[in-house]
């Protein structure tokens, strides 16, 4: 028992792994860094499916701020968000082979998986405690800091923020409640005293507007 642990503790994992990482996502100001592309992530995820720890490290570095930030927006609790993010990446390690490039990008696959877990967690928490005050409303455009520019450029964030700003208040509200507060569209309609058809069409129109604005095909 002790031997296993000693072995684990003595191995300098981070250093060893960083050497082999091909995508410089942790670059310093002096280093040339490039944006991680969708194709890079698809390739990394395929390597993760073959149990490649270096690829897993690179995938984590390239996506962790998106995943954690989204999970934290849903859960609004550092501890829960860290636990859920850990569970998400363990699930990635375990199920990467189920990723099918034909069904979408690796990033969308990862964030869908992460959002599913975050929503499951927030619904479980709410069912257990009904602590509504903790899951109060926030705005969709809340800025966040401390994200490496090597992973997400300021330009990209501004573009997304601008596109979110282009939605109508009603569209944004529906997406906020459903996506970031984990409500079902039926709960959204109850919250907004709007009928189901209206809520569905606001969500759909809002998503179409976002998609067009962001140029997602």
């Amino acid at each position: 028992m002790g031997a296993v642990v000693t072995q684990l503790l003595e191995r300098p994992f981070d250093q060893r792994l960083d050497r082999a990482v091909t995508i410089p996502v942790n670059g310093t100001d002096n280093e040339r860094v490039r944006q991680v592309t969708t194709a890079d992530l698809d390739m990394l995820l395929r390597r993760v499916a073959q149990r490649d720890p270096e690829a897993f490290a690179a995938l984590y570095d390239a996506t962790r701020s998106r995943v954690y930030g989204m999970v934290a927006r849903v859960l609004r609790d550092r501890g829960y968000s860290e636990e859920t993010t850990q569970d998400v990446y363990l699930q990635v390690w375990r199920t990467a082979e189920s990723y099918d490039p034909a069904s979408g990008s690796a990033l969308a696959w990862l964030l869908t998986l992460a959002h599913r877990r975050a929503v499951d967690r927030v619904r479980a928490e709410q069912a257990a405690t009904q602590r509504d005050s903790r899951y109060g409303a926030t705005t969709l455009e809340r800025p966040s800091d401390h994200v490496s520019d090597a992973v997400i450029s300021g330009e990209e964030r501004q573009r997304v923020t601008a596109c979110l700003g282009g939605l109508t208040d009603l569209q944004r509200e529906c997406i906020e409640l459903a996506y970031y507060q984990g409500m079902t569209y039926v709960q959204v309609s109850e919250r907004l005293s709007a009928n189901l058809a209206t809520v569905k069409s606001r969500m759909r129109d809002g998503l179409r507007a976002l998609r067009n604005c962001l140029g997602v095909r």
């Binding site: 684990l8 984590y60 701020s65 969308a108 928490e125 490496s148 079902t184 569209y185 058809a197 759909r204």
Partner: protein
């Protein structure tokens, strides 16, 4: 007219593509929708899943706006968990099991500050409870600080009806008392074992079997070798959700 009927059904289903893609359906609604889609005809199903794909791609891009760095310790914990996974050098039959033993061991190490053993043995004929928990698709991690010092972390799976508890740096119970763990459900508390001073220091793990309908794991201080129902001071509670 058949055509217009199909169109209506198709429109009806397509209107749910966005809520489906955003996980904004209850589990029952989602199951019902998927079953309707499976019989709806190829054109409708294709249009539906195409819209779902587009919504998910869009939200993946939107995630740039909420990006936030996770705590730095998480990286080391995850990389330790997978880096010791030498499955590529093992025959396929041993793969999963060995991989998950390593992940479990490494995760536990990540959670502790003083090196201790994790009671995970090399692959046996059947995976241990801990291995099964770590390999479960619904694995969850909950940790909490204990006011007197140290932390308790439970990794559990409802599917496996079991969990693994790791306690780190928890001060020993006072002389003549033990820490006792309780699985608490609506119908009351069931003992999940005790820990004396020797078992606690500096770290310990325990396997929790039969989680049942329990909603939390409670820790109390009990006299002697433990009680049949919680009587002493509650030192920690971890929600099992």
């Amino acid at each position: 007219m058949t055509h217009s009927h199909d169109s209506t059904v198709g429109d009806d289903l397509l209107a749910l593509a966005v809520p489906y893609a955003l996980h904004a359906l209850s589990d029952d609604e989602r199951d019902a929708l998927e079953s309707r889609l499976s019989t709806a005809g190829l054109a409708v199903a294709d249009a539906f899943y195409d819209e779902v794909r587009a919504v998910r791609e869009t939200m993946a891009v939107v995630a740039a706006a909420s990006a936030e760095e996770p705590p730095t310790e998480l990286r080391g914990r995850l990389l330790s968990a997978v880096a010791n996974d030498n499955v590529r050098f093992l025959p396929p039959s041993n793969r999963r099991r060995t991989a998950w033993m390593s992940v479990a061991a490494a995760l536990a190490v990540g959670l502790i500050t003083v090196g201790i053993g994790v009671s995970l043995r090399p692959p046996a004929q059947t995976p241990s409870t801990a291995e099964q928990v770590f390999a479960a698709s619904d694995v969850h991690t909950i940790s909490g600080a204990i006011p007197a010092g140290g932390t308790a972390t439970v990794v559990f799976s409802r599917d496996r009806n079991a969990g693994v508890l790791v306690m780190n740096d928890v001060p020993p119970p006072a002389l003549g008392t033990v820490y006792q763990m309780w699985l608490v459900s609506d119908s009351g508390a069931t003992s999940a074992g005790t820990m004396d001073a020797q078992a606690v220091a500096p770290s310990t793990t325990a396997v929790l079997t039969d989680l049942g309908n329990s909603k939390k794991l409670k820790f109390t201080v009990e006299p002697g070798s433990g009680s049949t129902q919680p009587t002493g001071q509650v030192i920690a509670e971890l929600p099992l959700i």
